[in-house]
């Protein structure tokens, strides 16, 4: 069982890293982001499989952190993309 789970972790990672080719080609930055997000989700899956294979619940904590940080990273990347909104940098009470 453990061997199977580790093998599946490898399969998921291999599949997802082929998707990383989009980071190379992807005409737009959004494509690169998508490939990175797929890698993130695949990594979470691989970590869960690894945790079950090794029998260590602590590794599941790593999956929680990866998920939170994936969301943070995508938000940061997307947020740095748009053209700046004129009023967005004032403190909130001066924006109206």
């Amino acid at each position: 069982m453990a061997e199977f789970l580790i093998a599946m972790a490898g399969v998921v990672l291999a599949v997802v890293s082929v998707g990383l080719a989009r980071v190379l080609w992807g005409p737009a930055d959004a494509d690169r982001l998508m490939a990175a997000q797929l890698l993130g989700t695949g990594s979470v899956a691989a970590v869960l499989l690894l945790a079950a294979a090794v029998g260590s619940p602590a590794i599941v904590d790593a999956a929680v952190i990866l998920t939170l940080l994936a969301a943070f990273a995508i938000a940061a990347f997307v947020s740095s993309q748009f053209d700046s909104d004129a009023t967005a940098d004032l403190p909130r009470d001066q924006q109206q």
Binding site: M8, V44, A45, V60, V64
Partner: protein, 94 residues
């Protein structure tokens, strides 16, 4: 009983891996950023979901199983928001 449990895990985890494969194939082959994003969400939701369900019988007790489900729900939330954000970033409506 243990054989049944292992069979359940093997089938579902394999199915989950297949969805990841489908998601990657879509990401690489679809013509348009938005269609690629659509393929991505399949991997996110179903791929991870099937793997989590497949791992539940292997978990040590209810709390460990609950943790797995929490990870999946968190990934759903993060994935849904990330998908919409990336969709906006492609510059098209929606």
């Amino acid at each position: 009983m243990s054989v049944l449990r292992d069979l359940f895990t093997i089938v579902l985890v394999s199915a989950g891996a297949v969805f990841f494969l489908a998601g990657t194939a879509g990401l690489l082959r679809f013509p348009d950023p938005l269609t690629r994003l659509h393929a991505l969400t399949k991997a996110d939701n179903l791929g991870l979901g099937l793997i989590v369900i497949g791992l539940l019988p292997q978990a040590d007790g209810i709390l460990a199983g609950l943790k797995l489900v929490v990870v999946w729900l968190l990934a759903q939330l993060a994935g849904a928001a990330a998908t919409r954000l990336v969709a906006r970033a492609t510059g098209r409506p929606g």
